[in-house]
């Protein structure tokens, strides 16, 4: 009935921060309409994009996200009047900072997806997943997390192995 699903060697981890009123509802609509998209995305619901702290994006990358999506209401549609306007500035600045310290911005996507745009949700999530899948694992933060100060490193292979699993 369905075409054979393509299996990929690498499946990226995508974390999405979305507002509850527009994008979360848009994702719900995609579900209600039985649209299909890659299963890589994990959605974290916020009242508003205004609530999304840049630290969360950083945390997501540190926790192993290969791609991060931030999505909310179109300008003027914010349930809280202006939360998305504040978010827009905050993220315009933050992405420039991340870019400057060497994060590839192709891994960080921002979008406006309204409650009516189930199709756009699917498109945004699919595009990001495919783009990041092609880019491969985001190694930077993962490698950073394993690095120690020289004086604190331990020369024991068994322990290192145990740690690498963490």
């Amino acid at each position: 009935m369905h075409p054979e699903k393509q299996k990929h060697a690498f499946e990226p981890k995508i974390i999405a921060f979305v507002c509850t009123w527009c994008t979360y509802a848009g994702a719900d609509l995609a579900g209600t309409s039985r649209m299909q998209y890659p299963s890589n995305v994990r959605v974290l619901k916020f009242p508003c994009t205004g609530r999304i702290d840049p630290v969360f994006i950083l945390k997501a990358f540190q926790q192993g996200a290969d791609g991060v999506l931030v999505s909310g209401c179109h300008p003027g549609d914010c349930h809280y009047i202006a939360g998305n306007f504040h978010a827009r500035r905050r993220f315009a600045a933050f992405r420039k900072l991340l870019e400057f310290v060497g994060v590839d911005l192709n891994r960080l996507q921002f979008s406006w997806v309204s409650a009516a745009e189930g199709g756009k949700w699917v498109e945004v999530v699919t595009d990001l997943t495919e783009k990041v899948r092609a880019m491969g694992l985001m190694t930077e933060f993962k490698e950073l997390a394993l690095e120690e100060q020289w004086s604190g490193t331990i020369d024991t292979p068994e322990l290192k192995e145990a740690y690498d699993q963490i």
């Binding site: 994702a27 649209m35 299963s39 974290l44 997501a60 809280y80 504040h86």
Partner: protein, 665 residues
């Protein structure tokens, strides 16, 4: 250690078709902190909810995760069930494994793995959930209505008829507003005064309405249910309680030649006056700028002739404070002043149309006064310059409106209809006259509106020319109007006796100042902003404040009255309970860490952040911190994302909860 219960719903087959629900229940059952996990065919059904309640009690669960459909669908359902079982409802979270998982993925393995992760994420989140008590706010069941035009009158009457006290504040000496100035109203041509004045009298006589005319809002403090409003009652110089409204003072006043604003400066009034004969209250006010007594200290005639001794030159402005629970803003509109370019305004003037220079170029409201039976000409249409009857009259629409290059891009909505009405009134009064209308297009949505407009052309012989006027100048006692007829593609030149400009509707002057006092938002034209353009059209984002009429955007009378009644209904909804209950998703300040930089205050869209002084036991000021008024907070959390030290926290969406979710992935 938490004892979390996880309930996986099959949703019939909606979830279980693509998600192995038993496996999800088994795997999440292994997560630290999960004490119980199970799956069930329909969690939202009665048996499903009973299963949940029973498990909470028998398993002594501390938190609950229901993995089912979207929380937008059933969060309320399950939180109620959890509450019924004795847990705080906010210790229950939903994991969306239907809309976000089973319905959008086909591969069972993939969908199952994702479902496990989604549930795992919500398990970590719910561990950090706190008990949140419902927030209750007392409600003062009195309303303030600002503006005594038809919107304010309608809202005040509706609320008062429901048995609640209303304070109605009007800046002018009389209520009535612009509607009292109109002659007839479209599309029925009934006399405006005839339908308006009874309502004005109702207001005056209503036992539940306290009317403050010649008064302005000085200050507004408090929040929904609990506003303290300071009202300035300007000195009227006439004691309202003593005055009988006999009018002798006005007859005897030696100053007689003051242009009457109510008549668009066509008629004259004395220094002690009521703006129009049907004024409510029918108590005169002394225009201190023009009164001889106030200017020179001499005269005092009005006081001498006043039988009841109501005239009081010593009166001063007084401030009174009223406690109200809701505020309806109905400050209405003003007409675009075409010959003025207000300094610093983004709106440019229309000096090229001769208003203010050519006396017989008038605006629509002036024409209303000329056509009104109670107007300065007794209802005869006469030119302001020489009092002659105009035989050729040109109406020009969209003066100011829809002209982006002039600074206003919106449509003023009522001009098409009132111009059509003007052509009819003109035709009825000047049988041998001819009316021309320059228009861009005619906008006539509304019951019987298009029929009305067509009648002005088909039966009342108005000539409509689609096109804009390019030039207009005085030639002898004629006004030459040059324009183009784009429908035919020719230049048109009309020698008119009089020109009427349909000028744009703008918010009242000072609308921005009032908005700042109220803490409500407004657009770049100073029209007040509703909370949601479609779904909350009469509410401000600031809780407890409602909008009625043209202060929110151009409106005709039926729309204004509808919105006023809608605003009244919203007020009555608020007043239907003694206490206001709200979801406790509000921001809270952790005072120990707050340094009072007030970034939260700068970004709060609701004006919910106040400054609070922290003092030691001796009363010495230690610091000033932010305080979020839970009655006003909208719960967006922008403050928390902005706070550098994270000293303000949105309950229900705390950093702990969010970080726990991120770390679970």
């Amino acid at each position: 250690m938490s004892r979390i219960g996880v309930f996986i719903c099959h949703c019939g087959e909606n979830i279980s078709r693509t998600v192995d629900v038993e496996r999800v229940a088994r795997e999440v059952g292994q997560l630290p902190g999960v004490a119980f996990s199970t799956d069930y065919k329909y969690m939202c059904s009665d048996p499903g909810q009973n299963l949940l309640k029973k498990a909470i009690q028998e398993q002594k669960l501390s938190h609950v995760v229901v993995a089912a459909c979207s929380p937008r669908m059933h969060e309320r359902t399950f939180r109620k069930a959890v509450e019924a079982a004795g847990l705080n409802p906010f210790l229950c979270e939903m994991a969306n494994i239907r809309e976000h998982c089973s319905w959008v993925h086909e591969d069972k393995e993939e969908a199952t793995v994702k479902a496990v992760e989604i549930v795992g994420m919500m398990v970590e989140r719910v561990k950090k959930n706190r008990v949140l008590p419902t927030i209750t706010v007392p409600v003062t069941k009195r309303a303030l209505v600002i503006g005594g035009g038809i919107a304010g009158i309608q809202a005040a009457l509706d609320i008062a008829d429901c048995g609640h006290e209303v304070i109605l504040v009007e800046r002018e000496p009389s209520i009535g507003g612009h509607m009292a100035q109109l002659s007839e109203t479209f599309p029925t041509l009934d006399c405006s005064q005839c339908i308006m004045t009874p309502k004005m009298v109702d207001v005056a006589n209503h036992p539940k309405i306290k009317l403050y005319t010649w008064s302005e809002i000085e200050r507004v403090e408090g929040y929904i249910g609990n506003f303290q409003v300071t009202i300035k009652r300007k000195a009227r110089s006439v004691d309202e309680d003593k005055c009988t409204g006999c009018g002798v003072c006005m007859e005897k006043c030696p100053v007689r030649k003051i242009p009457n604003k109510f008549d668009c400066n066509l008629g004259m009034r004395p220094a002690i006056y009521v703006p129009f004969p049907q004024a409510v209250p029918n108590t005169p006010v002394i225009d201190r700028e023009n009164c001889i007594k106030f200017k020179t200290g001499k005269c005092g005639l009005c006081q001498k002739v006043c039988g009841p001794g109501a005239v009081d030159y010593e009166q001063e402005d007084i401030l009174i404070v009223e406690a109200v629970g809701a505020i309806v803003v109905a400050t209405g509109f003003d007409l675009y002043t075409i010959d003025e370019k207000p300094k610093g305004s983004l709106i440019k003037g229309y000096g090229e149309f001769g208003h203010g220079k050519i006396p017989d170029v008038v605006d629509g409201m002036t024409f209303e006064r000329l056509a009104s039976a109670s107007g300065p000409t007794g209802g005869k249409i006469l030119r302001p310059s020489d009092g002659k009857e105009p035989k050729q009259i040109v109406f020009i629409q969209c003066i100011g409106s829809r002209a982006r290059e002039k600074g206003i891009s919106y449509c003023s909505k009522v001009c098409c209809m009132y111009t059509a009405k003007h052509t009819m009134l003109y035709h009825h009064k000047v049988h041998d006259g001819q009316a021309y209308v320059f228009f861009m297009d005619a906008r006539t949505p509304g019951k019987s509106y298009d029929e009305f407009w067509r009648r002005s052309i088909e039966e009342e012989e108005a000539v409509y020319i689609r096109g804009m006027v390019s030039r207009l100048y005085q030639k002898g006692d004629k006004i030459v109007v040059m324009g183009s007829d784009i429908a035919v593609g020719v230049q048109v030149e009309i020698e008119a006796d009089m020109v009427v400009l349909a000028t744009a509707i703008q918010p009242q002057k000072g609308a921005d100042t009032l908005a700042q006092k109220l803490g409500i938002s407004y657009d770049k034209y100073n029209f007040y902003s509703e909370a949601h353009a479609k779904l909350r059209p009469v509410e401000c984002a600031t809780a407890g404040i409602y909008l009625a009429g043209a202060c929110q955007g151009p409106k005709d009378i039926p729309d204004t009255v509808s919105q006023a009644s809608a605003a009244a209904a919203k007020v009555m909804t608020l007043f239907s309970k003694d206490k206001l209950e709200r979801e406790p998703i509000v921001a809270r300040v952790k005072e120990a860490g707050c340094v009072g930089c007030f970034y939260c205050k700068k970004v709060c869209p609701y004006g919910a952040v106040e400054e609070k002084e922290i003092r030691d036991r001796q009363g010495n000021l230690i610091k000033v911190v932010a305080y979020v008024n839970p009655g006003v907070c909208g719960g967006c959390g922008t403050c928390q994302a902005t706070c550098p030290s994270k000293s303000v926290e949105l309950d229900g969406y705390t950093d702990e909860q969010i970080v726990a979710m991120i770390e679970s992935l």
